[in-house]
Symmetry: C2
DNA sequence: GTACTATTGATAACGAATCTCATTACAGTT
DNA sequence: AACTGTAATGAGATTCGTTATCAATAGTAC
């Protein structure tokens, strides 16, 4: 049976209070920073669980680590992510969904999945970058 | 100045003789298997170089490792990849390019990049999977 | 051939993620 | 409220992909 622990709740809250994607490591250290004695392994486990349950999205950063973010559950969506500050916007893309399906079918592929993410500089970071 | 070594050439060839994406590690061991004394670090370096020069595509496997594949250079494209056997088809997707750009612009994002890959089971693997 | 230096490669170092296992504490039962 | 079974925790060890180190090697220009 699944149990409710303050640790899981702490991870859920920490995730929710964050605008962008965060790594398990940084989430752990920020929790530690607030005085919580939560363990690193527990953070990893909680994040993996949340991802499975659909309460969190995950993606691979360009450096290879997994990043997580609270998401609106039950709905397939993609992300527009600021390379600089991590700000993330959820985007829907029915057109892309259909495209992925048809491309797969065209080549005889079945059970299509897809990874679609857009990276860029958000308005604020674009402004900052332009000034230097 | 950049030099031509047999090591780089060996990596380029090994990449080209492969249909799907391969990891640096497996490329290294297959080269070693053919009697080449090439070092692991060199394989990593050569692959990184090829990726920068546009002669190779790279993506992150779900297990976190980087995979590489020879590609038709100078042209932006995406991939349709078999989850099971690694067979890869290069696909063009002008519609998706435009979509990514417009979505980014809509939210004030500049310098948009995107990651678009479709995973599935290729025709052959679909058949096999259906039989068991 | 000589000199310069980019490249190599064995190995150490690094870092993210997972595993181990004794301990803890949640959640039903009595 | 005490009891009990077991899911969950966490410190530390471990794994594994990748990168850094640095002395030795070997392209390339002259």
């Amino acid at each position: 049976m699944k149990r409710n622990t303050w640790q899981r709740e702490a991870v859920r809250e920490a995730l929710g209070s964050n605008e962008g994607f965060v790594s398990a490591q940084s989430l752990h250290s920020s929790l530690r920073g607030t005085g919580s004695p939560i363990g690193l392994a527990t953070v990893y486990r909680a994040l993996a669980d949340l991802a499975v349950e659909g309460e969190a999205d995950s993606l691979q950063s360009l450096e290879g680590e997994s990043l997580y973010r609270a998401c609106t559950p039950g709905q397939h969506h993609h992300h527009l992510i600021c390379r600089n500050c991590g700000l993330t916007v959820e985007i829907e893309a029915d057109a892309v969904e259909l495209w992925a399906k048809s491309v797969a079918a065209e080549h005889g592929f079945t059970q299509p999945n897809h990874v679609v993410d857009v990276f860029g500089l958000c308005a604020a970071c674009s402004r900052t970058a332009g000034e230097e």
